[in-house]
Symmetry: C2
Subunit: 163 residues, 2 copies
């Protein structure tokens, strides 16, 4: 398969380098998974990845999807996000850099936002507590504009509980 190789995006190159650097093998499943993730935009869960691969004629088992998604996370190419404590979703790390999420409780819509100021505050807080930060998760659950409008016109406002 020569032409397939030629359009291999740089993310796949990166993944292959990561694999070789670790003494791991380059397999068909890993390449297909990597290509599929970077073909998708937005957030996608493990089962959707599984289905997408099957649809693309590269069926792999669920176990393989999970294993290699973890590998992509370790390679730093993909983020694993848990919104609302349920099923984890994955998204490729895009050039823009880090972002956080607002998730609508009603329709499930996910809105992304970037706040360098928050990142700076977190760094400062960790330093103050001598805590070595690995990863931060910041999510806001609530109602998106559309759902808030259609919800209850004269509703009692939700208290803004922080948990």
């Amino acid at each position: 398969m020569p032409s397939q190789q030629s359009i291999r995006p740089r993310e796949e190159e990166q993944f292959l380098r990561f694999l070789r650097g670790r003494g791991l093998r380059v397999t068909a499943a890993r390449r297909a998974l990597c290509r599929e993730i970077f073909a998708q935009h937005g957030h996608i869960d493990a089962d959707q990845v599984h289905a997408a691969l099957a649809g693309a004629g590269h069926a792999v088992s669920r176990a393989t999807v999970y294993r290699n998604l973890d590998l992509l996370v370790e390679a730093g190419l993909v983020h694993k996000v848990r919104l609302g404590g349920h099923r984890a979703v994955f998204e490729h790390v895009h050039a823009g850099g880090d972002h956080d999420h607002m998730a609508c409780r009603r329709c499930g819509r996910i809105v992304e936002f970037v706040s360098p100021a928050i990142g700076a505050l977190l760094t400062e807080i960790c330093r103050a507590h001598a805590f070595d930060p690995g990863e931060s998760r910041l999510q806001i659950l609530g109602l998106c504009r559309a759902c808030a409008a259609s919800a209850r016109p004269a509703a009692l406002p939700l208290e803004a509980a922080r948990a």
Copy 2:
């Protein structure tokens, strides 16, 4: 049981008011659960609540623990927190107000912190996106001071991925 009633704390009163206001019944299980949660300090998971109740001679089923913890959350008396996407932990809402969490990946220790500045930023961000905030979850996963010290003296620093 007369004296038991007399020391009933105000949180239990609040819960009872919440129940009556919803047309729900005041049961022994609900009162025991409420008392147990407010007797505990810090973070406690559903099974710990279950065990604590059994130990206190108020055994209830796991299903009842889950159902009524949800009720306490709805009443706004208890927060449900998911750290690292694993087992949910509960904590009573204490007077001091909102706080967020740092969780150690190695020993599981939970450190709380308060940052009004972050709260203000979040409010601002929600306004900018016309998003009606209900609840925010901010967690930092990493290594606590003790674990970071004992981990790897000349370790390669973890990249601070934001997810």
